[in-house]
Symmetry: C2
Subunit: 166 residues, 2 copies
């Protein structure tokens, strides 16, 4: 019997230990371009320069997994932040945990993001690969390219798996 993982709303405040929430709500606004454009400024900051890295933009096309999904592992990018912003107005799920070399399964949390909320995982934040609720959802991703190994994965003991039922 896999224990369930509760879904929580995503806000800047609850996500602060893990990174940045990318949303216009509550953001600094600047009018530019002769008043024709509103700039919601610096919603996220790429932190990718470690080890000579630079920021690249990619698109991820994520397919829905069969729900309920068992959270069996987390990954981290030790050399850089990684930002996701949805390209369709569909909800998606953000799963994170705490820990240094290994995430503590007791700290797992799952946030339900709206289709107008992105996240920027801070460098080293343990997180689950992207989970979507529609058959396919695309994201613009800003992360690090450069020398060095920028991916760690940790698999949990089966007794520590947690179940997500959106």
């Amino acid at each position: 019997m896999i224990r369930p993982l509760r879904l929580e709303p995503l806000t800047r405040e609850v996500f602060a230990p893990y990174g940045e929430v990318i949303e216009t709500f509550g953001a600094e606004r600047r009018m530019i371009n002769e008043g024709t454009t509103e700039r919601f400024h610096a919603l996220a900051h790429a932190d990718v320069s470690a080890g000579g890295g630079t920021a690249i933009l990619s698109i991820f096309q994520a397919s829905r997994r069969r729900f309920p999904v068992a959270v069996r592992m987390l990954e981290q990018h030790p050399l850089g932040s990684q930002a996701f912003y949805p390209l369709s107005d569909d909800e998606w799920l953000v799963v994170v945990g705490e820990g240094n070399d290994t995430p503590d399964p007791a700290t797992l949390r799952c946030f339900r993001a709206t289709g107008r909320q992105g996240v920027n995982y801070a460098r080293g934040t343990w997180h689950h690969p992207v989970l979507v609720l529609q058959p396919q959802q695309c994201f613009l991703v800003v992360d690090r390219e450069g020398p060095g190994s920028n991916l760690s994965e940790r698999f949990f003991d089966p007794a520590d798996h947690r179940l997500i039922s959106p």
Copy 2:
């Protein structure tokens, strides 16, 4: 009488002198996340480190100008690239020109981008502020934050203005 500016389709090839086109079509694909995600890798590269800059993510909410629009000026960011990716599947317009200290009005070009095409203006590329065709369109923007002056604007002589009628 302001001379018209012809609209051209946006492709990687025609846009290469000005920067990168951000689109999945023709891109390098990598399967990741146990085969549940397709990564269209490194569609654009942030070039923002000049003068101690870093990459930030912002959202631009652009309002439609009254068409036909007269192109009266261009701007450039001498210290960094600037990427735009549309957050709704609506066409938009990309206006660029060539020149070093000042853009040559004879080189003005206007590209019609689809709602699934972004661009990353190369550092120093002369371009017009974003032009949208719907009443409001949002974009995720990746550009430079850091010390120094990163905006130049050049206004054309009225005889060199060009008219865009989408």
